[in-house]
């Protein structure tokens, strides 16, 4: 102070003074030296004013400003031309722009907005007329992301009441909106599930009613004719025998119905055990023909069988396969009044199954009824006055049996009157071809690499995978059914799963087909991140199931036969995915970190240093795959970091990607530091915003160069 007075002749400033009563107060003090020509400085003049009140107001303003800065709502003030005059911290976080980037810009240039049922201009008109607008809107941030906001915009007036601008308070309600949407989705799903349950319940009641009706009808004849005999109401011996025959016939019909009900009950309860053996297809078809052709001929229908070429073996239960075919053929005969029925068996060796087709020129089925037909208790004509009788169990039983044997079944009809085609598949038996495979279930083949577990009943395919994958640096294990597959997943913890869809299963198995297994995997936290490839001869079926299930994941669904190199590329992708990329980002701008987290896939783990010094400390301790480096940073800048890492050899090999607003170095030394010989690539920040993919590409390139 005295120095200033002596050299400049004056001083002024704020001081804290003490009153006589000991109270402190803020004062503004000016001291000037007063001098005359002769004597120089003669005296000092001090003027002091009490500024305690002013100080208080300032403090309050600062406090309020601080409040504005620290609230979580984005508060944006603008002048009457909607040019931004104030932009708080929350706005910076919410929209990704720093205050200095946006001050003076028109709001609509910075924040794109969608209002529900109203335009921006209309909102502005309302603000001018009413003084405020309140409502929900969708904003977009710097990265083009949607933000749901609850927004309230008020006009700001001067002391005379003239409007001088607007202030908008925007609360981010995105999470709330998302939660609401989720809730809505859950409610919808619940409704669907509830409707399904009700439908099932209704079907059960209908089934009971139908079953009761179907049991009572033959019983009526049995009791009736026996009563006639008992009461001697027959005219002669011959008629009595006819009555006995009628009762017997009805009893047999009753037995069939009961068998159907027992079958479906057993399938439902998981108690139907199959006797699986290798069955020669042509032999099977011929047997079925002998059992059914008379019925077809009686209805004067053309009855054609198309046999596969050569000897083909499937894995199945002989009696149940006959039951399946006879049921389908029986339906065709029942529902076809003219034309004919064709039964065909075709081999799809690469897909690993034999496909059976039963098609007719009968009454067909309306499209909307087709999907339900395989459900038990359902008949296309579900009214009480069904024309064709039956229990409505035949197709449900058939489907259950086909799936137990590891096949799928589907029904097609162009509509009523247009005939019906039923197609089902049964796995081929490889052993019967005389092939032998040296592959054992649950054994790990190969020494290193990701462990791939294949769950597929096709031993030949598994054997191929074993050889192919081990040759290509993977390890391989195999299970031939879903339940063992699950046990091996628990035991071996494989890195990738290759799962077939239709796999034979034991009746008591809880995890039946590949899809059950996939659901189980995704349901188990420990394994839900395991990549799954569903490799199947029935990709359509699997995609339908995926669509119907309430699960939000997308496993790869590939169709058999698979191009081996395609599978290999897919698996290699998982190799990369398993390795994380550890990135150190050094940048004083926090937004860059936020931005990178948004654009980079999860495998890129980002560690953040807010300046060069922190970056160097982190590099000393941690192991990074790449350094993303800003040049302009306080204290220790980017060039300093490069000097430390390269010239002082702290980390001569660490790939560096420089991301900067000022890509042109100022001095020769800086130019040298950024040269390619230092193993450094420079990326302009503006490019980063334009093309995020380029960054990922550059990161990957830098890492690869290092690996070489």
């Amino acid at each position: 102070m005295w120095e200033s007075i002596l050299t400049k002749g004056y001083w002024s400033g704020e001081i804290i003074n003490k009153k006589k009563n000991g109270e402190f107060y803020f004062a503004f003090l000016s001291i000037a030296s007063v001098k005359d020509e002769l004597h120089g400085v003669t005296y000092y003049l001090g003027i002091q004013s009490d500024i305690t009140e002013k100080k208080k107001i300032e403090e309050q303003i600062r406090y309020q400003a601080n409040l504005l800065e620290n609230v979580n709502d984005a508060i944006i003030a603008a002048d009457l031309n909607y040019r931004i005059t104030s932009w708080n911290k929350a706005a910076e976080r919410m929209y990704g722009y720093k205050s200095e980037e946006v001050i003076g810009k028109e709001i609509s240039e910075v924040v794109p907005v969608e209002f529900p049922n109203i335009s921006r201009d209309e909102v502005r008109k309302m603000i001018l007329e009413k003084g405020f607008w309140k409502g929900e809107a969708i904003h977009y941030n710097r990265f083009g992301e949607k933000i749901y906001v609850s927004s309230s915009i008020t006009i700001v007036r001067d002391s005379q009441g003239n409007p001088i601008g607007t202030v908008g308070i925007n609360r981010d309600i995105t999470e709330q909106k998302k939660a609401e949407e989720k809730l809505k989705l859950y409610a919808e799903q619940l409704e669907i599930a509830n409707a399904q349950l009700q439908e099932l319940n209704k079907l059960k009641s209908e089934f009971l009613a139908n079953t009761s009706h179907e049991l009572r009808t033959p019983l009526n004849s049995i009791i009736g004719f026996l009563n006639l005999i008992k009461e001697g109401l027959y005219e002669n011996q011959e008629e009595m025998l006819k009555f006995v025959d009628n009762a017997l016939m009805s009893a047999k019909h009753l037995l069939n119905i009961i068998n159907d009900i027992l079958d479906i009950a057993k399938i439902e309860a998981g108690k139907l055990e199959l006797n699986i053996e290798d069955i020669e297809v042509s032999e099977l078809l011929y047997e079925v023909w002998t059992l059914s052709h008379v019925q077809a001929e009686q209805k004067k229908l053309e009855y054609k069988f198309i046999y596969p070429e050569g000897k083909v073996f499937v894995k199945g239960d002989r009696n149940r396969l006959k039951q399946i075919l006879l049921n389908l053929i029986g339906n065709s005969i029942k529902f076809t009044h003219k034309g004919g029925i064709t039964v065909k068996a075709e081999v799809f060796e690469e897909k690993g199954f034999c496909q059976f087709t039963v098609s007719d020129t009968g009454i067909g089925i309306a499209k909307e009824k087709q999907a339900k037909l395989f459900q038990k208790f359902v008949q296309a004509d579900g009214t009480t006055t069904r024309k064709y009788g039956g229990t409505g169990l035949g197709l449900a039983i058939t489907k259950g049996l086909v799936e137990l044997m590891g096949g799928i079944i589907d029904l097609y009809s162009e509509g009523e009157g247009k005939g019906t085609t039923v197609i089902f598949t049964i796995p081929l038996s490889r052993i019967s071809y005389g092939e032998k495979f040296e592959i054992e279930q649950g054994k790990i083949y190969g020494d290193s690499g990701l462990l791939i577990l294949a769950v597929d009943d096709d031993a030949r395919f598994a054997n191929f995978l074993k050889t192919f994958l081990v040759k290509n640096s993977f390890r391989f294990a195999w299970a031939d059914n879903a339940e063992d597959g699950w046990n091996y997943i628990l035991k071996l913890k494989p890195d990738v799963l290759i799962i077939d869809y239709a796999i034979p299963y034991k009746a008591s198995a809880l995890i039946k087909n590949g899809f059950d297994l996939v659901l189980k995997v995704y349901d188990t936290p420990e394994f839900q991140d395991t990549p799954v490839i569903i490799l199947t001869g029935h990709p359509q079926k699997v995609r339908e199931l995926l669509k119907l299930s309430f699960i939000n994941f997308q496993p790869n669904v590939l169709e058999k036969p698979i191009e081996p190199n395609y599978l290999l590329n897919l698996l290699r992708q998982y190799v990369k995915e398993k390795d994380e990329v550890n990135i150190l980002l050094a940048d004083d701008d926090v937004n860059i970190e936020l931005y990178l987290r948004k654009i980079l896939p999860d495998i890129y783990k980002i560690d953040y240093a807010k300046n060069g010094r922190e970056a160097i400390e982190k590099i000393k301790v941690n192991n990074y795959d790449i350094l993303l480096l800003d040049l302009m940073m306080p204290e220790v800048n980017g060039y300093d970091v490069i000097r430390e890492l390269r010239l002082n050899k702290l980390a001569p090999e660490l790939p560096i990607l420089v991301i900067t607003n000022f890509p042109d170095p100022a001095t020769d030394e800086e130019r040298d530091l950024l040269s390619k010989s230092m193993g450094i690539i420079v990326l302009d920040k503006s490019e980063l915003n334009l093309d995020p993919a380029k960054l990922i590409d550059l990161i990957n390139k830098q890492i690869k160069t290092k690996q070489k």
Partner: protein
């Protein structure tokens, strides 16, 4: 001799009804599930009582498929035929079926299949014939 019309599609049940009603009840019996023939017989005035099955998938009147309930209603809603007693005989015998069917069809009575006691059937028919 009272004339009983039996509307029944199941061949064996039809045969059974015919024998029981003729030999045990001593009635004149016509069995059919042909819709046009049923309506013609009813309207001719020659039918004293109808035994009506409910499930009749093959029965049509004027080209429209009708079940036993609809047929009964047609009989009951026509003044000239309304007085003919109709007994529903059906294998739909779940709880509530009888009440529902009677209400819907306006039939006079209901008997569940299997009919285990033929005398009971004959008695029922005779009662309805008397009260007519």
């Amino acid at each position: 001799m009272p004339h009983i019309l039996v509307v029944e599609d199941d061949v064996m049940t039809a045969q059974l009804f015919e024998i029981i009603l003729k030999r045990k009840g001593g009635f004149e019996v016509t069995v059919t599930d042909d819709g046009e023939k049923i309506m013609e017989l009813i309207k001719s005035g020659g039918v004293d009582l109808v035994i009506m099955d409910v499930s009749l998938p093959g029965t049509f009147v004027d080209g429209v498929q009708v079940d036993g309930l609809k047929l009964t209603r047609m009989i009951k809603e026509n003044e000239t035929t309304a007085r003919i007693p109709v007994i529903l005989a059906t294998a739909h015998a779940m709880r509530g079926d009888a009440e529902r069917f009677l209400e819907e069809s306006k039939a006079d009575d209901y008997i569940a299949k299997p009919i285990s006691d033929h005398n009971f059937l004959i008695q029922k028919i005779k009662e309805h014939l008397k009260s007519e």
